[in-house]
């Protein structure tokens, strides 16, 4: 108990120590949390009317962002799996970073869902026992289960790994017998949350552009691109600013995953576009609207083609080893482009245009309101703040700067 307390204390005090840049980053996030607290207050007192959502386009940017967080959370297993499934030595230590990313992003996603709900105060209605969960009929009930289980699995993994490392008993023999099954379950659960999230959308037969069997494939390939893109950026930052050793081989593996995930995305888009546009039935209306506009409504056209250019461009760029090996310039740039492209794809291509035409033939555009925008930033800021603090503490433990054996503590501040 005492050890656990000192673990929490040491972890916390290391996480909040840092250089000027580190504090500037925390302050930057703090600004959005401050503004966001006010806009969130407005939303929770006035209702979703402060967002741009309507009965025609009923999902707002919160739901779109939730799908994106599910991408990244699912993809974090790509950092865990090589170490545990393929026994790659260079990645076994880093597995905990993957689990931290998964944990924080799935928590961020759940927060987005709470912002999406009209009555977040009634969330308890879905809890079996005190409420009623429409299982096994409702896809959202499945999603609630898989997301929360994934969150718990990763929390157990993260805390246990860091704690064992902290007390210096991280050898295979010293780990509990239940630990490995938990890690493997978490690895299997990553794709699962994403497939279920895809089914939440694909189950709506009336929305032509979601009602397709390729949706889970599109989601998993986008996860494979956007998740590792973020992880490469994190690894490059960590490698530059802390003493944690991350080999080039790790970065190269992630780059390969991004490149071929992008390849699969292109194939999936091409297959979907062909299947819809060649026969040109009513199911193609929504895609045609996204690609070319409809009677002068063409807000999404530029986003659609912009995202397509970014995805194809990044794919082609990653085929050059010069780009892949440019760890300090080109590679982070490509990763940033991939991350932002898939982040904007969610609302502007996947979610908003899918609602047109409505069942009664209406076409509509979605205009994000300022309050909604700051609420999205609010949730992201909380997510990135947690990610920063937890990663910082974890790096302290992984590098051995934070450990239970006080005699060996090197009091040094990192990033």
């Amino acid at each position: 108990m005492k050890t656990a307390l000192s673990f929490a204390m040491d972890f916390g005090s290391y996480a909040i120590k840092g250089g000027t840049k580190y504090y500037a980053w925390l302050l930057f996030l703090g600004f959005f949390i401050l503004v966001g607290s006010y806009t969130a207050y407005l939303q929770f007192t006035q209702g979703l009317i402060v967002t741009g959502a309507t009965d025609q386009i009923t999902l707002e940017s919160f739901f779109a962002s939730f799908v994106f967080t599910a991408h990244v959370a699912a993809a974090a297993v790509l950092v865990v799996a090589p170490g545990y499934l393929y026994h790659r030595k260079d990645m076994k230590e880093l597995a905990v970073i993957g689990e931290i990313v998964a944990m924080v992003f799935v928590a961020t996603g759940i927060t987005f869902v709470l912002f999406h709900m009209g009555r977040p105060d009634r969330t308890w209605h879905i809890m079996p026992g005190i409420g009623y969960m429409n299982f096994p009929n409702s896809m959202l009930a499945y999603d609630t289960i898989v997301l929360n289980v994934y969150l718990i699995l990763n929390m157990i993994g993260v805390v246990y790994m860091l704690y064992k490392k902290y007390v210096g008993k991280f050898e295979a023999k010293q780990l509990a017998i239940w630990f490995k099954p938990i890690v493997f379950l978490a690895i299997a659960w990553g794709p699962l949350i994403h497939i279920v999230t895809a089914f939440v959308l694909a189950s709506n037969a009336r929305i032509g552009s979601w009602h397709t069997a390729v949706l889970p494939f599109a989601f998993l390939s986008m996860a494979g691109a956007s998740g590792p893109a973020l992880i490469i950026l994190l690894f490059l930052l960590i490698r530059k600013n802390t003493k944690l050793v991350i080999n080039d081989s790790v970065i190269d593996l992630m780059t390969t995953i991004i490149a071929w995930s992008l390849g699969i995305i292109i194939l999936v888009f091409a297959a979907e576009t062909f299947t819809l546009l060649y026969p040109g039935t009513e199911h193609a209306s929504s895609l045609r609207y996204t690609m070319f506009g409809h009677n002068g409504l063409n807000m999404y056209v530029v986003w659609f083609w912009g995202v397509m250019v970014a995805i194809v461009g990044s794919f082609v760029a990653l085929l050059f080893s010069k780009v892949r090996r440019s760890y300090d310039r080109l590679l982070p740039l490509v990763c940033f482009v991939v991350f932002v492209a898939i982040l904007t794809e969610k609302p502007m291509v996947l979610v908003f245009p899918a609602f047109s035409p409505t069942p009664l033939g209406e076409y509509a555009e979605y205009h994000v309101t300022l309050i909604e925008f700051f609420n999205v930033l609010f949730v992201w800021a909380i997510g990135f703040l947690s990610l920063t603090l937890i990663l910082k503490g974890a790096i302290g433990i992984l590098t051995g700067e934070v450990r239970h054996d006080k005699s060996a503590v090197a009091s040094q501040s990192g990033a």
Binding site: G47, G118, R206
Partner: protein, 353 residues
């Protein structure tokens, strides 16, 4: 105009009828008697000073269908108290069960419909929807161009591809008949603002909740806040809905409306004769939709839209009764269901006179 007056008179009759029902209800229910003891002045007081106990109790109440009879009476008494205070008039919240041996069905003659939207407004008036900013309407009337689109001889060689040795111009895009015609949502106008209806070049098709036998919304709801009663009507427990809008995503008829903000229902326009699953005032952040006027039809009356229709295009009745209007229509007319391909088996039928 005379028709509107008749409708208004009818409504007043119903209101009187409603008050009689209210008194009957009070006599039989001790819980509701609490409402009677609230004098108007007290009611006003609690409006400015919301009854905290009632609100907290309401917050913790379970799914209405899973409550015991005693809990149901308590929940209804709470609501009646809150509504009476808020709208400054005696409000009843009925809990009339759906009648046994009845399957409600609806038939609408699109050949007769003139697009006057009296059904839309009668529905808003009856069902206590938000009135302005925004006005929530449960019925949406589509105005569709008739089939006689302009086919012109000078268009015969237009379209893509332009020329071929086969002479089949425009087989891909833009040929002479490259327009939707007839029953298609593609060119439907939902917000027409005509001074005179019907427009001779158009026909009209009102759409509301189709009361599907296999409702995708019920399947999608994660908390079972929406469900189908044994008379076949899909209802919502507004106090149980969590506002996730999965039902709205699932509905292929655009029949569900969400309370994006606090509903704006002026006290003087509020209809005080309500039903728990029907027209009682809703709160912010919950879903609502057509209930076939649960407050009326569960007491053997017709829905407000059916009564408001000036041309008799709307028929309502019991699908189990071979002599009901709806069954007569089904037996003798050319009937179809809207979006049959959605596999929802609506109990709302359209026909052409």
């Amino acid at each position: 105009m005379s028709e509107e007056k008749i409708i208004d008179l009818k409504d007043e009759d119903e209101l009187r009828q409603g008050r009689r029902d209210f008194l009957k209800h009070v006599c039989t229910s001790s819980a509701a008697a609490l409402v009677l003891t609230t004098t108007p002045s007290e009611a006003v007081d609690s409006a400015s000073n919301p009854d905290a106990d009632a609100t907290v109790a309401e917050y913790f109440q379970g799914h209405f269908l899973l409550m015991s009879e005693e809990e149901k009476l308590k929940a209804i008494a709470r609501l009646e108290k809150r509504y009476s205070a808020k709208y400054m008039k005696k409000t009843t919240v009925a809990n009339t069960p759906a009648p046994d041996g009845v399957l409600f069905g609806y038939a609408l003659d699109i050949g007769k419909c003139i697009g006057c939207r009296r059904c839309v407004h009668a529905c808003v008036k009856e069902n206590n929807q938000s009135r302005n900013d925004p006005e929530v309407q449960w019925i949406q009337v589509m105005k569709m161009p008739k089939g006689n689109i302009a086919f012109t001889a000078d268009q015969l060689d237009k379209g893509y591809p332009e020329k071929s040795e086969f002479g089949d111009y425009g087989v891909q895009v833009g040929g002479n008949a490259y327009k939707t015609a007839g029953l298609s949502t593609e060119d439907a106008q939902n917000y027409y603002n005509d001074e005179l209806v019907p427009d001779k070049d158009f026909f009209y098709m009102p759409v509301q909740c189709q009361q599907c036998e296999k409702p995708p919304c019920v399947k999608a709801c994660p908390v079972r806040a929406t469900f189908r009663d044994h008379a076949g009507v899909v209802l919502i427990d507004y106090n149980w809905c969590i506002g996730c809008r999965m039902c709205q995503l699932a509905c292929p008829y655009h029949a569900r409306r969400f309370n994006w903000g606090e509903p704006n229902l002026p006290a003087e326009e509020m209809n005080p004769k309500t039903h728990y699953f029907g027209n009682r005032p809703r709160m912010r952040g919950v879903m609502e939709k057509c209930t076939f006027c649960a407050q009326r039809t569960r007491e053997g009356r017709n829905p407000a839209c059916q009564e408001a229709c000036p041309v008799g295009a709307r028929k309502f009745g019991n699908l189990l009764d071979p002599n009901s209007d709806v069954r007569q229509v089904l037996a003798t007319k050319r009937v179809f269901r809207f979006k049959e391909e959605a596999g929802t088996y609506p109990k709302f039928f359209y026909y052409i006179g």
